[in-house]
Symmetry: C2
Subunit: 310 residues, 2 copies
């Protein structure tokens, strides 16, 4: 395939995965699935569905599904693990958008959860989504082997917690109110935690589900780390020169807030060079897995992440 066909083929797979993820999330969050002794709090469930359904490229679940496929595993397990990861991603957006945090009114072109509902409901919706993600992972429907399920829980908790996403958000908030701007190493650490940890988990989850050997799993983790870093530089570049309509949020907000980004520190051209180098690094890691052509979709994912326009 030439580059254009390759990209088209990739978009086809990404869209198909997104449709499957949307359907599964809808089912996991259906009132009839969430059965129990009583009727669920309707408004809270509505807010959870609002924050989770009907949007996004579903890149993280796609990476779980494609990574698991490298090891011959498809179907319910990777789909459920991908949905659990997407729930954590969505919860983090809901909490990050809160007035006490980034105070955003718009997300994916729609009012943020606390605007569409109210702050208390948004806080609880995030809490419930985070909690439900672990429910989904620990459920035997995700994998028959309890050791796989326990490992998924452990890996997600570490990626999402104090040493990962939540810690990164705390560093980000601290940087905004600090006197001294972050240096390059501090920005890279912050981004590796805040955005990178969940993207790394996506490919790690595929390796855990597919019982990858240790060497292959470690190589995939390197791919995930490079992809995550590329994703974040691309995000900074998009914020600096992006189109508000495509982004579904205002562009230029990072600079306005004095937020530490690589674009701000290195300039636009150096940031783009770094992004391209990270894509090459991600693809080189894939080649080292020895899995050959099977990794073509993940290679395309690295290119896509770097060059996306929203």
């Amino acid at each position: 395939m030439n580059a254009e066909d390759r990209a088209d083929h990739f978009i086809g797979r990404l869209d198909a995965a997104a449709a499957a993820v949307e359907q599964k999330l809808d089912a996991l969050l259906a009132p009839s699935t969430l059965k129990g002794e009583i009727e669920r709090p309707a408004r809270l469930l509505e807010a959870i569905r609002y924050a989770t359904l009907g949007g996004g490229k579903r890149l993280r679940p796609f990476l779980v599904i494609e990574s698991a496929a490298l090891f011959g595993l498809s179907g319910e397990g990777p789909l459920r693990a991908g949905c659990a990861l997407e729930m954590v991603h969505c919860y983090s957006l809901v909490h990050d958008d809160l007035p006490a945090m980034d105070d955003d009114d718009l997300r994916r072109g729609r009012p943020t959860a606390h605007k569409a509902f109210d702050e208390a409901t948004a806080i609880l919706a995030g809490d419930a989504l985070l909690t439900y993600a672990f429910d989904v992972l620990a459920d035997p429907a995700t994998h028959p082997d309890a050791a796989v399920r326990a490992n998924l829980v452990l890996a997600l908790a570490r990626a999402a917690g104090l040493g990962g996403m939540v810690g990164g958000q705390a560093l980000d908030l601290a940087a905004e109110s600090a006197q001294k701007p972050l240096n390059q190493q501090e920005i890279l650490t912050l981004q590796a935690m805040k955005t990178g940890a969940l993207l790394r988990f996506a490919v790690d989850a595929g390796a855990i589900l597919g019982a990858a050997d240790q060497r292959q799993a470690a190589t995939l983790t390197r791919y995930g780390a490079a992809l995550g870093a590329a994703f974040q530089v691309a995000d900074d570049i998009l914020d600096a020169e992006g189109d508000a309509a495509a982004l579904g949020k205002r562009a230029g907000k990072d600079a306005e807030r004095g937020k530490a980004t690589l674009v701000g520190l290195l300039g636009l051209e150096a940031a783009k060079a770094r992004r391209d180098a990270l894509v090459e690094e991600a693809i080189a890691a894939l080649e080292e897995t020895g899995l050959g052509d099977a990794t073509a979709t993940l290679a395309e994912a690295a290119r896509f992440v770097a060059l996306r326009n929203s």
Copy 2:
């Protein structure tokens, strides 16, 4: 033993467990334990430790430890599971105290987390604690059998989520702004979710860790449900007639807010009669386990929960 000696013996055990839990929580939340590629966000960790350490009777971990002991299991496993549960309890207090939720300034006689730190830090501290609880449960240090660990994760996620604690908090907030006061059944459902689910999980966790047979596990769950209901009526009674100094927060707040409580609905005397009946129900369930004298401490726990003054 007579009733007084029994109560003294119980308090001794409760205090010893609380000391062990405090020490283990301190170790689990030590900067050196939470090692990773980078230094953790110091202020966030400080807020997490503030919200978790140095307070509380540690009733929930105590129930995990005593329930597991019924099945001959002691040591690291029940202690870690108890600490994970306590982290979820502490996170829920931090989020419930937020201005958008119950808007409380005081907790256990100290400023609430968002007062001592700030709102963003309090939200993230709660998120990190909830996430870390699942990390602790899924870690092989909690139990060598992965199926036990996965079951603990599943049970805690269900107790803490939409169908449990978070759902109960949503119902509580909805009730405060509703036109029509809750009826008795609605109050009982709300309380079984908001407070009861975690207390039920405590004894369920003991049964999961100790590989209890299904009949014994089900009987213990009934004990946990009765104990949880007794706990909540006792709470309502304390709020109505309690002493602010002992409570570490203002008394009479429920009535002020028009919060739905059994005391408000039934009156103080009927609420006390209900509380006492629930204690008897809890003790009757213990007798049905066929474990005899081994259940004496849990029986005392039911009496303690009902008659505590803070």
